[in-house]
């Protein structure tokens, strides 16, 4: 059903972000300012949720946008920008947490200079604008049982592994694995259905 809502790839429209990123390649400050206006709020919200400290969160957001400005040539403008920004911001914020805890050694092993993020967005991304998609994500995750939602939040916002989450919630390891996978699959199906 949702596939029918989309036009073939050949007739896809260029997104405003892609246009702005092309201008950014030419070091257009106006394009940079507009990208900041469009996305700084969600990036800051995410980083603040992870670090819980406003001044540190602003430093991380500054690093993320300066990376966008300085390394725009490494970014493929055909790919969706926001997931790239959010993943970069999450990695940077969790790296800050590493200073406080050894758990980030696990992340260090898999860290990447520039994350390979969302090389292609699923087709249903275009079916909902960002505001409606954000609302759907909150509703879908909010409808999960409290412990399952907590497990997903510990993984995403705290960077904990399956074992660490199981120990923290006093739940069997297999249960935690199922919670996280099934929760994400339910999110995917819910977003598809919304399209």
């Amino acid at each position: 059903m949702f596939l029918a809502a989309f036009s073939p790839k050949g007739s896809e429209q260029v997104s405003p972000d892609a246009t702005l990123m092309q201008q950014l390649l030419r070091k257009d400050v106006g394009a940079f300012e507009e990208l900041y206006e469009r996305h700084s709020r969600i990036v800051y919200s995410l980083v603040l949720r992870i670090l819980r400290q406003g001044s540190t969160a602003e430093e991380v957001v500054q690093d993320v946008f300066l990376q966008l400005w300085r390394n725009s040539s490494q970014y493929d403008v055909r790919r969706p920008l926001v997931p790239w920004l959010l993943t970069l911001a999450r990695n940077r914020a969790l790296d800050h947490l590493r200073l406080k805890s050894e758990r980030q050694r696990r992340r260090e092993e898999q860290s990447e200079e520039l994350p390979q993020i969302a090389a292609a967005a699923p087709e249903y991304e275009r079916a909902l604008d960002e505001k409606r998609r954000a609302e759907r994500v909150r509703v879908l995750i909010g409808s999960l049982p409290a412990a399952q939602k907590k497990a997903i939040e510990l993984a995403y916002f705290e960077g904990l592994s399956h074992s660490e989450i199981a120990a923290s919630l006093h739940e069997p390891l297999g249960t935690v694995k199922s919670w996280i996978r099934n929760g994400l699959l339910r999110l995917k199906e819910g977003l598809r259905a919304s399209s």
Binding site: R41, R103, I117, P122, Y156, S168
Partner: protein, 269 residues
Amino acid sequence: MNSHDQFRELIEAYAIGSLDAADRAQLEAHLASGCADCANALEEARWLVSQLAYLAPDAAPSDMLKGRLLQTVRAEIPGGPERLSPVRAATVPWWLWAGVAALLVFSVYSAWNEQRMHSEVANLQRQAETQRAERQKVEQELATAKVQAHEAMIWGDPKSVKIMLPAKDPKMPQLEAMWHPEMGICVRGWKVPSPGERRVLQLWLIPKKPGGKPMPLVTFWPDASGTFSAMVENPPGAMSDTQALAVTEEPIGGSQQPTGTPMWMGGVS
């Protein structure tokens, strides 16, 4: 279920970063083998995981951040040559050529001057970054000093009550705590062995109330010399309602309830 299906079930957890080391290594080896199906699934899972950012409460950065960013990026713009409209030579009188030559000389000078200014701006930026790093260091030192001063006040105030926490293992050193009714609890120790890998020590408040559950206070771990000092500014219970303080070893991140028996425990009189 074949091995491919098993790997496929790990994709979402890999994208969110929660796979334990062994599973992660196996999946990465499978991805490196060139499985296009799993690679595509991983791309979609990464996009999906990024959407979890919308669970974060909405917040806006300060206007100062935007100002700082724009100032930085403007200073990094490389100078571009001025674009002049083409003019046909036949229509240009000699005095205009002279003007163009003067303009050319001026342009060369401007370009040189701009290059010099860029170099100065870059130097200033490097200095600013150095100062920012130094400021962060000073802020961290100030925060540490503030905590240490708070701890010193607790240890020095006559209203504080000292609580000794002997170790269950006689080979382990004894910990000591000081509880001030208004300023909180401070606990410290020396020559304390490090907890196991990915584990921390956690302080608990044991209530007097029969059947009352231990209340988590703070997690900490000793430095390389085995020394630590941890503070709880607002304990969840009053001294008069507390039977004892206890310390257990817990997984990183701490626990809501103790997962083992106390390694140290001391009664609150």
